[in-house]
């Protein structure tokens, strides 16, 4: 199985461990992620607030490059996922955009291939049974909450990978790895996103609410699919003993017996003692 792959800027720096763990667990599942050449920033959380045409063009260039791979495009960052998917949808729905986009990016684009989040590929193409077959060290007894945040599930008519109010896709994956995925009230709350850099007061209050909801049900860790969420949750937690925040791909790697140390040592909240308690060194 082969996909064109768009890592996105954060996966090169702040959340490089997400990128690396994603590529490695995919390899274990015989999924080849082919990074598309010379991709650019999708504009993420800023461009749509400034200029529509530029937002379409920055995303369009990546879509057009990816199309040359001749496969669907796999994405891990939910913000990139939404931007790429939304632009493709608008390109298909809007004749005026179809007319002008190729000129803006100086490349042909046909919107032939889908944009898919890795969770969707694991659930609906690979299948969680096969994901579970590769488990060597089940995450038995590890109490976690699956945190979806915004753009995996909203807007539902664009992202469409699960129920927008009570998604289950990541919970089901974590259960397949043997973990105890707890039901909780914080799964689709917003972490404040890029307000981190401008209004920490707002972002901090949102993060505190999410962490309180996680602790309320006895979670030992939070699991996310987003680099910015992971960073906000790690750095904005109030109190003495912050909960570790994992990428779902890192927990897959641990359960598959891959060497997770290079990923986990990059975390700002050290998960070592929690993992030791559950027999992972």
């Amino acid at each position: 199985m082969k996909y064109a792959y768009y890592p996105g800027c954060s996966q090169e720096t702040t959340s490089a461990e997400y990128n690396r763990s994603a590529v490695e667990v995919c390899r274990a599942l015989e999924i080849e992620l082919v990074e598309i050449p010379d991709w650019n920033c999708c504009g993420a959380s800023s461009c749509h607030a400034v200029d529509d045409r530029l937002a379409h063009a920055l995303v369009g260039r990546n879509l057009a490059i990816a199309e040359k791979e001749g496969t669907d495009l796999a994405v891990v960052c939910p913000a990139c996922f939404l931007r790429l998917r939304k632009t493709r949808k608008e390109f298909r729905d809007d004749a005026a955009l179809r007319e002008k986009l190729p000129g803006l990016i100086d490349m042909p684009y046909s919107a032939r291939y889908e944009v898919r989040h890795l969770l969707d590929i694991l659930a609906n193409t690979v299948g969680f049974e096969k994901v579970a077959e590769k488990v060597k060290k089940p995450l038995a007894g590890l109490k976690v909450v699956a945190y979806y945040g915004c753009y995996l599930v909203r807007p539902p008519e664009v992202t469409g990978i699960d129920d927008p109010e009570n998604p289950q896709i990541m919970d089901t994956l974590l259960k397949a790895l043997g973990a105890d995925a707890l039901d909780w009230r914080g799964k689709v709350e917003c972490c404040g996103g890029s307000l981190l850099l401008t209004r920490r007061d707002i972002e901090g209050r949102l993060v505190a609410g999410i962490c309180e909801a996680a602790r309320e049900v006895g979670a030992e860790a939070i699991v996310t699919a987003c680099g910015l969420c992971q960073h906000n949750l790690e750095t904005g937690q109030p109190g003495e003993n912050p909960l570790p925040v994992f990428y779902f791909t890192e927990l897959m790697g641990l359960a598959y017996g891959l060497d997770a140390r290079p990923w986990l040592r990059r975390h700002l909240v050290n998960p070592a003692s929690l993992l030791k308690k559950h027999g992972f060194n």
């Binding site: 991709w39 461009c47 607030a49 529509d52 920055l58 803006l104 307000l195 949102l206």
Partner: protein
């Protein structure tokens, strides 16, 4: 095309409403004040006007007050309101349109740091083709004159390799600059 300066005059409230309607493609007149948006909004506590109030203000043409509000910038674009609106109003899309108008008209609103962040972010893309966090953070700190907040976190991030010291310039940086030129002159001060 409605003249730019008229968009912010209270007297031209109808013209403002038309412009928001045309630019966004969203029919905000469908709002009947059920408050689902406001009750769902995670950042409503930090807004000067609640989302439902803002919809009403656009309907009545309170252009200057809308464009100067904190609300249009503080909105986290989390999409919760849109997912729940019983009238199917794409409120985040309206917020984007209002931000774009405010930037184009160079309206100094109550919230300065957030628009400064967006422009700094785009400048980074224009220059390198990708996000350059350290350059962006420094640029933002100069713009907002906030030099000492978060220095400890910044250092920890550098030590962990979570923030690159140097930018990565993509090969197609020239293509990106052409895209900026062709799209619109934005990301410039």
């Amino acid at each position: 095309m409605i003249p730019a300066e008229s968009a912010v005059k209270e007297a031209d409230g109808l013209a403002f409403g038309r412009r928001v309607r045309e630019d966004s493609g969203v029919d905000f007149n469908r709002c009947y004040q059920c408050l689902t948006c406001t009750l769902s909004c995670p950042v409503s506590f930090a807004m000067d006007y609640q989302p439902n109030q803002l919809m009403r203000m656009i309907q009545t043409g309170a252009a200057a007050e809308v464009l100067r509000s904190r609300t249009i910038w503080v909105c986290a674009s989390c999409e919760t309101c849109a997912a729940r609106c019983p009238q199917g109003i794409d409120i985040p899309r309206v917020m984007d349109t209002l931000r774009q108008i405010a930037l184009r008209e160079k309206i100094a609103g109550r919230e300065a740091a957030i628009p400064a962040f967006h422009l700094t972010f785009l400048k980074s893309i224009r220059r390198w083709g990708r996000e350059y966090e350290l350059g962006m953070v420094i640029g933002l700190k100069i713009k907002t004159r906030d030099f000492f907040n978060d220095i400890g976190l910044g250092i920890r991030m550098l030590m962990k390799g979570k923030m690159g010291l140097l930018p990565h310039r993509i090969k197609g940086a020239g293509e990106i600059q052409a895209i900026f030129r062709k799209s619109r002159e934005v990301g410039e001060d």
